[in-house]
């Protein structure tokens, strides 16, 4: 079967079938009402069947309408147009059908009423009366004739009944003559037909009449071969001579066939007219009912057809709406089925193509985005793992990205300021004065259109001065949103320091080598000179010689000490790290300086539960001696000099030692070179004390910083890394 036909049957088949069957049923009912009596027995069944069928169709209609209502509430795509078209179609079909129904009803009622009129009824009544009169006359004549014959032949009938009944039949021209006794016993009979068949006896009621000596004459009917035969039955009661018995003579006169046919036609017409006349009201009711059912069935079927047709019409719209909704939810894999080969089918196909292309483009964008993300992550990983700090700014000098090294160098979490304008940061956040200074320094370089630039910058951090090598570059881009600046920061403090240390060590070594060698001959020469000339000179000359040689020997000794200091600075011994309680070490050292006679006071503020530190005790002793001596020297002119050593932990990883004095403080300019060799403003001293201190601190992977302002206290803060469970607790030689 063709798919279109199958689809049609599938969608409309059941309703077509039901409607057709019900229509056929209604037609048959209508025919039965119009005197198709052969199917009369099925009328009630058909009526109930049709009513049930219409009930089913109505149920289907209500169910469909209910479904439409639910779809309307759910706002199913296409439901509004379905309802609108259904309503319009219902009105278009319903109004003409209702008009036709009304006029049909009128015609039926008028038509049935017009079947009957007075003239016809009177004519039929007159015809019946005429036939009746004719038959009555005939019956009366037959009765009189038979009565006359019985009066004449009554005695003979009683004495020789067999002969007389035959004779009477001939004389009366009757079909049958039968003689009965009043006790219903048949005595004799004569028939023009088969004599072997006994005549039909009168009924008991007639014999009752006979016994009462009453005659009987009437037209009766009996079933014939082809049709009912009418005959005149005449019964005459009589008695014999001695009145010993009562007899009844029954004579059957056959009414002529021509007369019977005429009478039958009149009778049938009259009977039919009467029947129809009586059934006029019920007929109108029945036809009205059938017409109403036809109207209802037609209307309901039309509405159901319309709804189905409109639903089929709007199905592609629903399909497209469903697809659009899926796409709006982000499902681009949807592919709508194409069931129609019309314009809606083309539209659905175009929709599918469009979605496919969008999906393809979206996938490409997604892939590109993923690749970009991968590249971004790759770059971020690179930047994160760089040993240099990286800061990126957009074209509007807003911070975009930073890596951990940058955060570490500046001791600031730049991610907290991501997206903030560069200048904003400068003026809004005053808690970052050094950072503000840094940005102020590089800001002019960023604003100029230099392709790339480099800069060495000394940054004062919480843990001291850092020497930074800063490289800046403008990111090339056509779009301002994408472009910006990249700033690469290298902390070259250690490198520079190492270079300085190496240089100073070399200088110290050379000085020691070049100066130390001639010092001994100078000293020996001065001593010899004093020894040789002391005896030869007298007076002032002798005193001068002695004073001069003493000065030479003294200065040589001083120079030897200086050379030894340089030598010590240049020759760094290996440090032997061991688990050390710094509090105890500091206490041991402090005892040496706590002289009640001394001008100064040394106070300790040591934390409880001091963590262990890996340290070379000998080197640390030198460190603390240097710092304490430095403090004592710095407070020489202070009225009540006080030196304080304080220990604490800034976190779980670092042990802090703070050596402070209440001396005059260190000038801001001097703070920059205070840890450099030969950097001293004292009249005495080698200028290596603090340089050695810093060197020892660095040998212990610590950090020293100075917190001092002129005319205020001076505070050296040393940070040592604490021991952790993973730290090797055995004696370790570390690189210096």
């Amino acid at each position: 079967m063709h798919s279109g036909s199958w689809t049609f049957l599938k969608q409309y088949g059941w309703i077509t079938l039901i409607s057709s069957v019900l229509m056929i049923s209604l037609v048959i009912m209508s025919q039965i009402l119009q005197n198709a009596s052969s199917f009369a027995d099925t009328y009630s069944s058909l009526l109930f069947f049709t009513l049930a069928g219409i009930g089913v169709v109505l149920f289907v209609l209500f169910k469909t309408l209910w479904t439409l209502r639910k779809q309307y509430k759910r706002k199913t795509p296409g439901i509004k147009i379905t309802l609108r078209l259904t309503l319009a179609s219902t009105l278009m079909i319903g109004i003409p059908t209702a008009i036709i129904f009304y006029f049909s009803l009128m015609f039926i009622q008028q038509g049935i009423n017009q079947w009957f009129d007075v003239k016809t009824e009177t004519a039929l009544a007159n015809a019946s009366a005429l036939v009746r009169m004719s038959l009555d006359n005939s019956t009366r004549d037959r009765l009189k004739l038979t009565q006359a014959m019985v009066n004449e032949k009554g005695i003979l009938l009683a004495t020789s009944p067999v002969i007389e009944v035959n004779r009477l039949r001939s004389l009366l021209d009757a079909q049958e003559v039968a003689l009965y006794h009043s006790n219903q016993q048949l005595i004799a009979f004569s028939s023009e037909e088969d004599m072997n068949i006994l005549p039909e006896a009168p009924g008991a009621n007639l014999f009752q009449q006979i016994r009462q000596k009453k005659t009987y004459a009437a037209v009766e009917t009996r079933a014939g071969l082809t049709s009912d035969d009418q005959f005149i039955r005449v019964i005459i009661p009589f008695s014999d001579l001695d009145f010993s018995g009562t007899y009844a003579l029954q004579v059957i006169f056959l009414i002529p066939q021509s007369m019977t046919v005429l009478a039958e036609s009149v009778t049938a017409a009259s009977a039919q007219y009467k029947e129809l006349s009586y059934l006029k009201g019920p007929l109108i009711t029945s036809f009205t009912l059938i017409l109403s059912m036809v109207f209802l069935l037609t209307l309901v079927t039309a509405i159901l057809f319309t709804i189905k047709a409109v639903q089929n019409f709007t199905k592609p719209i629903q399909t497209l709406a469903r697809g659009t909704r899926a796409v709006s939810k982000g499902d681009y894999s949807v592919k709508m089925p194409i069931k129609e080969s019309d314009e809606f089918g083309d539209l659905t196909q175009s929709f599918n193509d469009m979605i496919q292309r969008i999906s393809q483009a979206r996938n490409e964008i997604k892939l590109g985005h993923q690749q970009t993300e991968v590249q971004k992550l790759y770059l971020q990983a690179i930047i994160k793992n760089l040993t240099s700090g990286v800061l990126t700014l957009d074209m509007n000098l807003r911070i975009r990205t930073s890596n951990d090294v940058a955060n570490q160098i500046f001791n600031t979490e730049f991610s907290n300021y991501t997206g903030q304008h560069f200048d904003h940061l400068l003026y809004q956040d005053k808690s970052l004065p050094r950072l503000v200074e840094f940005f102020s320094h590089i800001s002019p370089l960023l604003k100029q259109d230099a392709k790339s630039w480099s800069l060495q910058y000394e940054f004062s951090s919480q843990y001291g001065q850092k020497i930074l090598m800063i490289h800046g570059s403008t990111l090339p881009s056509m779009d301002k949103k994408i472009g910006g600046y990249v700033i690469v920061i290298d902390d070259i403090t250690e490198l520079v320091q190492a270079q300085l240390n190496a240089a100073w060590s070399d200088v110290a070594r050379r000085l020691a080598h070049e100066i130390k060698n001639p010092l001994t001959p100078i000293q020996l020469s001065a001593e010899r000179l004093n020894f040789k000339l002391d005896s030869e000179l007298e007076g002032e000359n002798r005193a001068l010689l002695e004073r001069m040689t003493h000065t030479i020997i003294e200065q040589v000794a001083t120079m030897k000490n200086l050379v030894q200091a340089f030598s010590d600075y240049a020759n760094t011994p290996e440090v032997l790290l061991e688990e050390t309680n710094l509090n105890r070490l500091i206490t041991d050292i402090a005892v040496m300086y706590q002289d009640p006679v001394a001008k100064w006071t040394l106070t300790l503020d040591l934390m409880d539960h001091c963590p262990m530190v890996l340290a070379d005790k000998a080197r640390l002793r030198q460190l603390f001696h240097n710092l304490i001596k430095n403090a004592i020297e710095a407070t020489e002119n202070t009225i009540l000099p006080n030196i304080q050593i304080k220990t604490y932990c800034d976190d779980q990883e670092n042990f802090m030692v703070q050596v402070s004095d209440n001396g005059p403080g260190i000038a801001e300019e001097a703070q920059k070179w205070i840890f450099e060799p030969y950097a001293t403003d004292k009249p005495k001293g080698s200028g290596l004390g603090l340089a050695i201190v810093r060197k020892i601190v660095e040998e212990h992977h610590g950090h020293i910083s100075l917190n001092s302002t002129p005319d205020s206290d001076t505070c050296f803060i040393i940070r040592f890394p604490c021991m952790t469970p993973s730290t090797n607790t055995t004696n370790t030689n570390t690189d210096t």
Partner: protein, 194 residues
Amino acid sequence: MPFSPPPLLALCLFLLSYSNFAFSKNAIHFSYLKEVFQNEQLALNAVVDFKLPEQVLDAIQHDIPILFKTEIVLFEKRDFFGFQIEQTQKKIEYYTELYAYGVNRYYVLYNHRNHKRQTFPTLKNALQTLGTLQALPVVNQSVLDPEKHYFFKIRISLDKWKLPPPLFIEALIETYWQLDSDWQEITIQLPKSG
């Protein structure tokens, strides 16, 4: 214009009437009912009075054939583990058609069971004959057990399903077409054997 109820109203009326099962009371009434034993047969004598409503008489006068259904059921009472049960022994059902005929307005009774037709000059005669059951044989006496108990049920009703189709709706709605004698019951007194 004659009144024609709307179809839905007609349907409602039909359902209403059909649920009520209203009948014209005493239209068919048994005035005598007795069993007789005659010629080794259990027979039935009955006299039924017919007081047909005007509308039904009018229909007969207008040549509408009316069918009366006569149902006779013979039951045997049995004791089944203490429960009284009734078992049908014999069931007789036949239709008798009453109609007016001919120019002389004879009234004909046609028995559909034995196809016997009787003509009467008046409707009263016809109804008398219809209502007279004289020695109507039901069952052979030999099949009846004297030790058991039997009873009859008889009912005569107008069969509205056999009315002409146009009258069908009216017959369903109107009570004057609901003619039924309802079941009449008599217990049979079996003659003592020997």
